[in-house]
């Protein structure tokens, strides 16, 4: 297994993480895999209050992908702190807490609550999802809005606990948003969240998701994620990136790293293979070993070769 990776000053035991929302509360994976297989478990996005989620259907299959419109179902910050976080920590998981809210003050409040909790290795700010109003434009679609939220979260988070900004893959200029977030205090970036997508059930003549518009993830979006990682790393090489979007194998993970990621997160793959985290980690370690290289030496290495 590849060893420890250091990202934005924090140490993670492995370079392969569980992407937000794809490992449930963590408990669901017990029996399927060891939570220590993951460099970190990024929690589903924790919101100010409990959420039941959106009406079904909530998920549908698309070519080499899936679309979901779940509506960030989850326990809310208080129950998360009371039950889920301690459970994860007890079970040896390294935890990055993803948070989502509608407003700066709500983000500040969650960040403050997290500050008092032991076992938070990092905070990931989900900027790509409209929390209470689906028609609202997510923060990640606007550099200023994104930077504002990041700033608030950073200010309310303990020093030494890095803050990652999770951006949307289908924004016009992701580099501009990334730069704004970095300037706003983000210690790193998570690229990318699922992109907006829709399915039609033609037999029923209606959208295949209850909410109509949803989010596309899985191998289908890997080229979109790689492009985002590539462009952001080219412009902001000092900002570490946790890459997600279609990672299913060690080769996929290595591609992300060569494009500029410091770590990768597996999302959809966990829905179809609960043991994907360990497998991807193992495959990646073998590929890195075969190159006789250290993983850190491979970060962004595909950039060097361009034009040669």
């Amino acid at each position: 297994m590849s060893g420890t990776v250091e990202i934005a000053g924090a140490r993670f035991p492995r370079p392969v993480f569980a992407a937000s929302g794809c490992a449930g509360s963590g408990r669901e994976l017990v029996g399927h895999c060891d939570l220590r297989d993951f460099g970190a478990i990024i929690t589903r996005s924790i919101t100010p209050t409990p959420r039941a989620g959106l009406r079904p259907p909530r998920l549908a299959e698309t070519p080499s992908g899936l679309i979901n419109a779940l509506g960030l179902p989850g326990p809310g910050i208080e129950q998360f702190l009371a039950e889920e976080l301690p459970w994860l920590v007890d079970h040896g998981a390294t935890v990055i807490v993803s948070i989502a809210a509608d407003s700066g003050p709500d983000f500040a409040r969650i960040a403050q609550r997290l500050r008092q909790a032991p076992g938070v290795a990092a905070v990931e700010v989900n900027l790509s999802y409209p929390v209470s109003d689906l028609a609202r434009r997510p923060f990640a679609m606007d550099p200023n809005a994104a930077a504002g939220v990041v700033h608030v979260v950073r200010r309310n988070t303990a020093a030494g606990v890095p803050v990652f900004a999770k951006l949307a893959g289908d924004t016009t200029d992701i580099v501009a948003v990334a730069r704004a977030c970095a300037n706003g205090g983000a210690d790193g970036l998570s690229l990318i969240n699922a992109v907006r997508g829709l399915g039609i059930d033609s037999a029923a003549a209606r959208p295949s998701l209850g909410a109509a518009v949803g989010w596309l993830s899985g191998p289908a979006i890997k080229p979109i994620a790689l492009r985002a990682v590539w462009e952001v790393h080219a412009e902001l090489p000092a900002v570490p990136i946790i890459a997600s979007g279609g990672v299913q194998t060690g080769v996929d993970a290595l591609e992300m790293i060569m494009a500029g990621a410091s770590a990768v997160a597996v999302g959809s793959a966990l829905l179809t293979d609960p043991s994907a985290g360990a497998r991807v980690g193992r495959e990646l370690a073998e590929l890195v070993a075969r190159r006789g290289a250290d993983l850190s030496a491979l970060i962004g290495c595909a950039h060097v070769e361009v034009g040669s």
């Binding site: 029996g31 989620g53 209470s132 209850g210 179809t272 293979d273 609960p274």
Partner: protein
């Protein structure tokens, strides 16, 4: 709590009849753990397939022991692309499988008269249940509804129970159930789609007969992580929550399921909000 395993099964045999195919898979030691009402979740299409999602399939039969760590029989609908792929696999083809998944039917402590109501292919989990009940001395009355083609392939008549075949009849379902119930039953077990089970529940309305319902609906992860399968259920604390069919079911105490509100997030559900429904 979780006893499910993940392994690469081999196709040992398959028997296709019309639109259904019973596929026997090597069980890698997991067969003994499988209880009636549980299911298996299979990866379909092979490694390079554009279809990513797993398919949930009832475990029709689980045979422990033997050379391959026992076998599991699952039932695939060949009209569905994933089912068609499975039914087309040659002997010894590898299939990624997770099983047994979900909460099984609870068996009565005493010997009682049980009414089993199965719809089409969802009759599968009830057959094993019927066998268990009969072997424990209970009396089983088995009402079969829906697609009759499924019963043949399921071997749904090969056990000693009173089989009431109403497959294919367009009869008023709640009334049919109520009528048959009137002939006597202490507990009811059902399996079918949400709409079908809602009708059964309606037929039982007003009675005090305990009813365990196994919901047959599309699943995604099978492990409880994705929440795609959530339905509203009112807990004993009177709070309605969205619960996951795949891991908190597929068998539920039918009295607690908000049958009329399936397909929605009811406004009184914990965490519901105007926009979210």
């Amino acid at each position: 709590m979780i006893t499910a395993g993940q392994w690469t099964a081999s196709v040992m045999a398959r028997r296709t009849a019309g639109e259904y195919s019973v596929v026997t898979l090597s069980a890698a030691g997991s067969a003994a753990a499988a209880r009636p009402g549980q299911y298996a979740s299979l990866r379909v299409g092979g490694a390079e397939s554009s279809r990513l999602l797993r398919r949930a399939l009832w475990i029709r039969e689980a045979t422990a022991g033997g050379r391959h760590g026992g076998t599991l029989d699952v039932v695939a609908d060949v009209r569905e692309p994933g089912g068609a792929w499975l039914a087309a696999q040659p002997e010894s083809a590898p299939v990624d499988i997770l099983a047994p998944l979900g909460r099984p039917f609870l068996l009565p402590r005493e010997t009682v008269t049980c009414l089993l109501v199965g719809f089409g292919v969802a009759t599968a989990p009830l057959i094993r249940l019927a066998e268990d009940l009969v072997s424990r001395g209970s009396r089983v009355r088995f009402l079969m509804l829906g697609d009759r083609a499924a019963f043949g392939v399921l071997g749904a008549r090969r056990f000693s129970a009173e089989v009431i075949d109403r497959a294919g009849t367009g009869a008023d379902l709640p009334q049919t159930v109520a009528d048959i119930l009137a002939d006597g039953a202490d507990v009811v077990y059902s399996a079918g789609s949400a709409a079908e089970l809602r009708d059964v529940a309606e037929g039982l309305a007003g009675t005090q007969v305990p009813h365990q319902a196994a919901i047959h609906s599309p699943l995604v992860c099978g492990s409880g992580t994705c929440t795609a399968c959530a339905i509203p259920l009112t807990g004993r604390d009177s709070v309605t929550r969205m619960v996951r069919v795949c891991s908190e079911g597929p068998v539920f105490n039918a009295d607690l399921v908000r049958w009329a509100d399936l397909g929605t997030v009811p406004g009184d559900c914990l965490g519901a909000s105007g926009e979210q429904q």
